[in-house]
Each structure stands twice: as structure tokens, then as C-alpha cells.
Symmetry: C3
Subunit: 189 residues, 3 copies
């Protein structure tokens, strides 16, 4: 299991450009930790909750969102704001995953509000056809994370932890690694 993630990790490091490389690094660390099985809690239905991923998303998604903002040429005040909204989204998401009581849904609501604010801010300024496609991609794929959250043992427990891990793994692969390669090879030239 760890070996698998290590191979994945080393493969990720071939995405040479800066932001994308950091994101791959941080994603690799996050997966090694999850593979080791520490930093989890057990939900009321007996399933494991891997809450640590949300802390790593603060950095990885924060870097991706500010990278898009920088690429659009938004002023630095807006870039910082977008970074803060992303951090807030993920931090509230972390709290929502770590709380097993009803407070969970307050954090989920706060996270959702911050996420919507993030999307609104990212749409500001001019949007080239390529940028519009990137933003639509981010809006759709990132929205699938809270959907998995609600279905998984962190929410209503409709799907089990294994399915959750696979779904998040696919989403991470798409939104971080493949998206990173796309940004590096197609957009940043």
C-alpha cells in the first residue's frame, strides 16, 4: 500500500513546474499519512474518517486557486483573498469531518459559503475561452468533493470508507495531478 503510494508519489514529481510540483509533493505526503492509518477517527457507524486530507487541501488547493488567480492577472489583494477563501473552505471542511456531532453541519455550511465566495472571486476579471474552461472544470470537479463528503461516513454514511477513499483518490488524481499537468503543458507557455 505504502509502496503503491510511493510509486505514485515519485511519478507525480515528474510534473516539473513549480506550483504543480508543490501540490504533487503535498498530495504525496497526505497519501502516505492516510496509508499509514494514523490521524483517523471512527464515525458512529463504525467506519473510519480520514480527516487529515482536508488540512493538506488548505495548502494544495490554496496553491492551485492562487495559481489560477495569478495566471488571470488579478491584483495581489484579490489573489490573497482567494487564497484565504480556499483556506477557509478547507479548514471548515476539516472541522466538518472531525466533528461527529451536529456542529458538523455548521462547519459544512461555512465551508460551502466560503467555497461559493471563492468561485465568485475566481470569475472576476476577463475570462479567455481557455480560462472559462478551467474555471468550469474547477467549479464542477471541486463541487464533487462535498458530494462525496455528504455520502461518505463523514456525512450520512450511504457509501463506505473504501468507496469514499477511491472516489477522493480519483478526484485528487483529476483535480491535482492531471489538472497540474494540463496547467503546466497547455496553459503556462
Amino acid at each position: 500500500m505504502t509502496l503503491l503510494f510511493a510509486v505514485l508519489g515519485s511519478r507525480k514529481e515528474t510534473a516539473i513546474f513549480n506550483t504543480e510540483l508543490f501540490v504533487s509533493f503535498i498530495t504525496a505526503i497526505s497519501y502516505i499519512i492516510m496509508a499509514s492509518g494514523v490521524l483517523t477517527i471512527t464515525a458512529s457507524n463504525g467506519q473510519l474518517v480520514y480527516w487529515s486530507r482536508w488540512l493538506f487541501y488548505i495548502v494544495s488547493c490554496g496553491l492551485l486557486a492562487t495559481d489560477i488567480a495569478l495566471h488571470k492577472g488579478l491584483p495581489s489583494k484579490k489573489v490573497i483573498e482567494i487564497g484565504l477563501y480556499t483556506g477557509l473552505t478547507m479548514f471548515a471542511g476539516f472541522l466538518a469531518s472531525v466533528f461527529l456531532t451536529v456542529e458538523k453541519w455548521w462547519f459544512f455550511a461555512l465551508s460551502s459559503i466560503a467555497f461559493i465566495a471563492l468561485l465568485v472571486e475566481l470569475r472576476r476579471g476577463e475570462n479567455t475561452p481557455v480560462m472559462s474552461r478551467i474555471l468550469a472544470f474547477v467549479a464542477i470537479t471541486w463541487t464533487l468533493f462535498p458530494v462525496v463528503f455528504v455520502l461518505a461516513p463523514t456525512g450520512f454514511g450511504i457509501i463506505d470508507t473504501l468507496t469514499e477513499v477511491v472516489l477522493y483518490g480519483l478526484l485528487d488524481l483529476i483535480t491535482k495531478i492531471i489538472f497540474g499537468l494540463y496547467m503546466t503543458t497547455k496553459v503556462k507557455q
Copy 2:
């Protein structure tokens, strides 16, 4: 209890402008966590110590202090410095609240030194009458936090946890929400 904070939280979100909105968000999260009763320790006099607030102050007060610094037009190196001093003040404050042994007072001293450095840095540059009033307001109201700290179970335990929570709540209301509304409506136009 949680409901009360949620209502408070949603009301806070009407403070529309950026920094002030973030601060309200983070304060709301901090209060939901405190209302849930986790992240506390019991002082030697049997009273609860809510140490998590100081971690949230790193971000909320850091944003407020850098916002004032930006508004004064200080150079970005100074703004970063002010953010770091604020973070140091609150982080040492967190350590002072979490340690029940004599080390507590070393952290309290470090926090106080960083706080004084913060106030000194914030006074730099030209001060309009409005800015002088803002700085005096910050100097006085923020100084009341360590006063409560010393009186509360985190310090000598002269007042109990309930009184402490009410006093901090009032101070948070004044220094974060009302101050935020003032900055948004009167200063930033």
C-alpha cells in the same frame, strides 16, 4: 447555545467587506468550537480553559492588524512584519493558556513583548486623526485581553470561566464585529 452562536454568526456575515468578513467567519468558527466544549483543558482550580480562541486570533487579529497597516499605506515589508508580530503575540498567548506550569509566564512575557512591538510598528508613518483614534482604540481594547487572561483561570483564577467567557465575548464583539463595521462603513470609502 450552538443556535445562539449560529444566529450571531449569520448576523456577522452581513459585514460585507473582505477582511472584516473573513474575521467574522473565523470568529464564528472559533465560537462554534468553544460552544461544543472540545479543545479545553482543566486548570488546577478545576475551571475550564478554552485555549483554542488564541489559535483563531492568529488569523483574525493578524488580518485586522495587516488591514490597518495596509490602510496606512505602510510598505509591504512592514505589513508582513506586523502580521508576524501579531501571529507571535497570539501564538505565545495560546502557549501561555495551554501550559498550566510556570512556563506559562515565560510565554506570557514573550507574548507581551511581541504585542508591544506590534503597537510600536503600527504607529509608524503618518497618522491622520482618524488613524490615531483607530490605533488608540486597538491599543486599549486589545490590552484588555491579557488583563482578562491574568484574572481568569488561565492566570490567577480571580474570576471564573463563565465571567471570562462573557468578558472575552464582549471584547470580541467590540474589537472584531463592531470595529469591522466601523472600518467598513466609516474608514474604507
Copy 3:
């Protein structure tokens, strides 16, 4: 013990300039925590592991590295990148010290890669003779930290915790306090 560190701490605060003062502050906090004996785990050979130092290195070494980068006049994007590489090095180092299982070495490898990336980035741009000497100093002295890590109970346990603490203490004195004084008095004028 605490008193000793407090005296050390106050002496450190005489390094008046900004970044160097912060670094001394943070180092002082880190040592008070280690002197108090909390935030440690016991390695399989029964020796204590002080993992908290690596978290403080994120801030202190991050500030030192970005300070060097700023002093070289590197563009702000590069400075941020250098800060991120330093943070990654220390955060992976923290994970390597906190994990007692085989995952430890994955984090050690990630930390080493980030450290090499950091050194490569710091060499960019023009290097005056003084700057070349500073960079050589950083490359050599900072590399001794992972050497101690491998020899200490965090690694193969060839040296014991006391020797480790003394060696790290000497390295911290050289790389943070003496280096800070050198930067303040010789370079920054």
C-alpha cells in the same frame, strides 16, 4: 533548566533587526517547550524524540531563507517559492521525526528532495563573494541537521537523546543566533 533558556532567550533578543529578532523569538519559544518536556514521543529504543523543533523550524528557517532570497533581490515569486520549499523540508522533517514506522524514511526522502530544491533555488541570480560564502555556510550547516537526525533516536539511534539535544543546540546557536548577528551586523548595512 528553564531559567537557563530564559537567560539565553533574553540574550537572543539583543539581535535587534527584524527577521533575526523573530527567529530568536521563535527559537526561544521552541526551547522553552522542549525544556518543559511536553510534545515528545518515545522511540523504540526507549529514547525521547523531541519532534516539536521541526514545526518551529518551518517558521524560523522559512524566515531566514526568504530573508537571504530578499537580500539577493530575487523576484517575489521566487521568494515565496523558497519559503514554500523551506516549509516543506521542515514539515516533512517533522513527519519523519514523529513517525516511528517505516513511513519515516519516505518523509525523510521528501524532506531531502525539498531541501535540495531549496538550495538550488537559493543559488539563482548573481552571487557576490559575500553571498557565495553565506550560501556555502547555509548548505553545510543546514545539512548537518539531517546528519544528526539519522544518527539520533529519530533515525538509527547511534547517539542518544542527550547528545542529539546538545548537537542540535550548537547547530541552532550557529545557524540562527550567530548567523543572525552576522546578517544584521555585516551584511545588512
